[in-house]
Amino acid sequence: MEKSPEAASRRRFLAGAGAAAVALGAARPALAQEAAAASPSAGPAGNVPPNVPQWTRSLGEPTVAVPYGKPSKYEVNAIRKLYPGLTEPMSAFSTSPLQELDGIITPNGLHYERHHAGVPQIDPAQHRLIVHGLTEREMIFTMEEIRQFPRESKIYFLECSGNPVFVPPYGKTAAEVTGLVSGSQWGGVRLRTVLEHVGLKKGAKWVVAEGADGAAMTRSIPIEKCLDDVLLAFIQNGEHLRPEQGYPLRLFCPGFEGNMSVKWLRRLQVTDQPAYSKEETSKYTDLMADGRARKFSFVMEAKSIITFPSGTQKLTRKGTHEIRGIAWSGHGKIRAVDVSIDGGRNWKEATLDMPVLSKALTSFRATFDWNGEELMLMSRAVDETGYVQPTLEQLIAVRGRWSTYHNNAIQPWKVSTTGEVTNGRV
């Protein structure tokens, strides 16, 4: 990599070049010693070379000791956390630990959560879906029946509409800044298939979806969307949904704000008008500076975040580092992600990992050299419509500070002279 002309030019672009290489050589021995001292495997057990590790000299756990596998006990940081400042856990949200993850799929146990009345434990044998209203037949389905419709599986992101709000306190970690986003392969039946099964009547313009939880969460979805890519989802990453994600059945509206993908789905009412439920009037409307508010603001616009290096992480050495992150757009595919290390003055296009899928998380990577100077790292997504992720200042200039939802601003991370990474927005 060092020898390729492409890498060399990238290095010139991203850092002060020559000086970095010199400093790199000088810094290495000291930093390597520090790293060795900090390593857990260098403890009293002496499991590092030349010693033969304890786990090499003994048998491990029996097969199927854990019938449903769990992460290593050493992976203590890859957990969800209640959003900072929340005290009431029933109508609350928890974040995916983005800074601990890599790739476009979020493990099911780490998918972000947003519940409005806790997580119901629903017996699938007693769960029903009723489809009625402006339909040829008003019908009721068991879960067993719903699972027998022709299926499809697609990889999509899901993002909470307020991820995050526009005002302080700004989060410390990537999870606290924008951890209300996750990616999964969702499987189920196209809503279109079921709507054609019951038959739509003339005048059908909306489908009002309702959950079976204590909030009986209700959202109205335009019929065009319902006949396009909306799923009745019961599979998440190959297994049945987790209770936190709507077991046994949820709606999934690709690219739309998360709460429209109504969990624990029990009823679909086909109508000629929206319900104007609490979740599309009192909440999830966007208050502008002039006192008026946007309604039916469904789509999550293009966004990206650097997950490494990100807040509370540390660069432990001078030299070449990799920026890693995720980007997504509710309008389709990510076309490009640009990264900057100088606070947005100069940008360079990052490499996108395959696959790049519509309305799915997309991984990006880029290298930069760090020589102990202060940096401001940023990423900027561009989607297939040509839309470019904006700055927070640009959003606030148009919307004011109290619109709460749909904040897709560029996130700055500051690297200090000692390598500590903190939120650049303080």
Partner: protein, 195 residues
């Protein structure tokens, strides 16, 4: 349900194509059944802004105050000023200020939403436990505190349909994209420091 042979399968598919899927009505898949009126009635609780869906029943503002004190005040405050739950009154004239207070009176566009939400999701600890009469009463009380119904009112579907919420015309359909960020790559102008 499974087709008995490949000929049946092909004929089934052709018939579906001829009929058009909108008129298939589940004949081919044979999944699901007609919901009974009784089954539907138990779950069909949405009240629409045009008044569709209000159930029978009525209650007085005065009784609503009692319901509120017993079931709502612990979270929403004795004067509807909010606490663990959001404020339900006040905030008039604040929406275009730097301290907007979004309440039933200052922000909600339709009274139907208030009735619908109380019936489906409140009280928070015991959703769908109030009678329809109590929901009419407590919705009436909340509207009364917001100055939208008199204290001696008896509230039913017709009364709620006539309530004009102050912020009814305060909403417009999403008009994004609303920000154009040029994709500058070199020597770009950097705005004020991120704050």
């Amino acid at each position: 349900m499974a087709a008995s042979n490949s000929k049946t399968w092909v004929l089934g598919a052709a018939a579906a194509a001829m009929l058009g899927m909108a008129h298939a009505n589940g004949a081919e898949l044979n999944l699901g059944r007609d919901v009974t009126p009784e089954e539907l009635a138990g779950w069909n609780i949405t009240v629409f802004s045009d008044g569709t869906g209000y159930p029978a029943g009525k209650g007085t503002v005065r009784h609503g105050e009692d319901v509120y004190k017993a079931s709502c005040a612990a979270c929403h405050g004795a004067k509807l000023e909010g606490g663990l739950g959001p404020a339900l009154a006040g905030g008039k004239g604040t929406l275009n200020t730097d301290k907007p207070l979004r309440t039933v009176g200052s922000y909600w566009p339709y009274a139907s939403t208030l009735f619908d939400y109380i019936r489906r999701a409140m009280p928070f600890q015991a959703p769908q436990s109030l009678s329809n009469d109590d929901v009419y009463a407590v919705a009436g009380y909340i509207l009364n505190v917001n100055g939208l119904l008199p204290a001696d009112a008896t509230v039913d579907a017709e009364v709620l349909k006539r309530v004009q919420m102050p912020n009814r015309d305060g909403f417009y359909v999403d008009n994004r994209p609303d920000v154009e960020n040029p994709r500058c790559m070199e020597n770009c102008a950097v705005g004020p420091k991120p704050h």
